[in-house]
């Protein structure tokens, strides 16, 4: 545990470095929200949030140092989430909005019209 001096510095340095990175990323996402990038805004924010989560999980929760099984479980949660998102959104995105007036805009994603505002 408390053997090499390197281990001790490393123990203090890494969390601080990760904290700085997280704060900077948070500020970046906050700042970018005010830029008029319309569609790109959302994906940028989510991408930054994603990297923050990955940083937190790998270093602060020490997934890097833990067993393969634990890493597998961490990924499994996210994988199952993708099943749910993919198939549910496949329903919403494929509901016809125009044409034979199949379903009114109330619950259908109108790709042509609101691509911009996504």
């Amino acid at each position: 545990m408390t053997n090499s001096h390197g281990r001790r510095v490393h123990v203090w340095l890494r969390p601080i470095a990760v904290w700085v990175a997280l704060v900077l990323l948070g500020l970046a996402s906050l700042g970018s929200a005010y830029l008029p990038l319309n569609a790109f805004n959302t994906s940028l924010n989510l991408a930054i949030a994603g990297t923050m989560v990955i940083l937190l999980w790998l270093f602060l929760m020490d997934l890097v140092g833990s067993e393969a099984l634990v890493r597998l479980i961490a990924v499994a949660g996210l994988l199952w989430l993708s099943f749910m998102f993919a198939l549910t959104l496949s329903d919403y995105f494929s509901r016809a909005c125009e044409g034979p007036g199949d379903v009114p805009p109330a619950t259908c994603v109108n790709q042509k019209t609101n691509r911009g505002a996504f």
């Binding site: 904290w19 319309n38 923050m52 602060l60 067993e67 949660g77 199952w80 259908c108």
Partner: protein, 210 residues
């Protein structure tokens, strides 16, 4: 209880194996929590793709100051928790207890700020209901998810603060040795609650700003 209280629990052969067990167990719980919040994010995503315009109008009403400060608080609390885990691994009693105390402090500060934000929102009448100030009515969907998401997260955080407090008390009263594997479980749960806020922040506070 033998005086040298051992952290070893019944079915485990040794402490390292028990630590791995706790890690597997808590991460399985985290996987289930990912899906628990995932269902909420699914609802948010569906409605945001259905009514982007309404979500833009509604999103502009949230208070970025509170969201940002709370994010900072939780990020810092994650770091203090990591220091706590490392200190407990190295059996440095005082540092562990200080880190746990700091984490609780930051968590409580988050909850207090949340309380201010909620009262400000209520004052602005932003609770979905009959005379909701914003139009069109779909803006109430955003605010319905705002209240549910932040409330569920706040409950998780309050439970987190409670658990950290109880665990710190156990360590302080020497009911468990400082290097007990339970520390890993508490820390991992806390980091997860912070993860949820990292994702909640852009979804609720950075909508409709540009």
């Amino acid at each position: 209880m033998s005086d040298a209280v051992t952290a070893l629990r019944e079915p485990w052969p040794d402490l390292d194996r028990q630590r791995e067990g706790v890690s597997v167990g808590i991460w399985l719980f985290i996987a289930s929590e990912v899906l628990f919040f995932g269902a909420l994010f699914l609802g948010y995503t569906v409605y945001r793709t259905l009514y982007p315009e309404a979500f833009r109008i509604a999103g502009a009403q949230t208070d970025v100051f509170y969201g940002g400060v709370n994010l900072l608080l939780l990020l810092t609390s994650s770091v203090t928790m990591t220091f706590g885990v490392d200190a407990s691994r190295q059996e440095r009693r005082r540092t562990t207890l200080v880190c746990l105390g700091l984490t609780m402090l930051l968590g409580t500060a988050f909850l207090i700020f949340k309380g201010f934000e909620y009262s400000a929102d209520i004052a602005k009448g932003l609770f979905p209901g009959a005379h909701f100030p914003l139009q069109p009515p779909q803006t109430q969907l955003f605010w319905a998810f705002y209240w549910v998401m932040t409330a569920v997260h706040a409950v998780h955080l309050a439970v987190g603060v409670g658990v950290v407090g109880v665990f710190a008390l156990i360590l302080w009263r020497r009911l468990l040795p400082i290097e007990s594997p339970g520390m890993l479980g508490v820390a991992t749960y806390w980091h997860f609650v912070d993860t949820v806020w990292i994702i909640l922040f852009p979804l609720l506070y950075l909508v409709g700003r540009s």
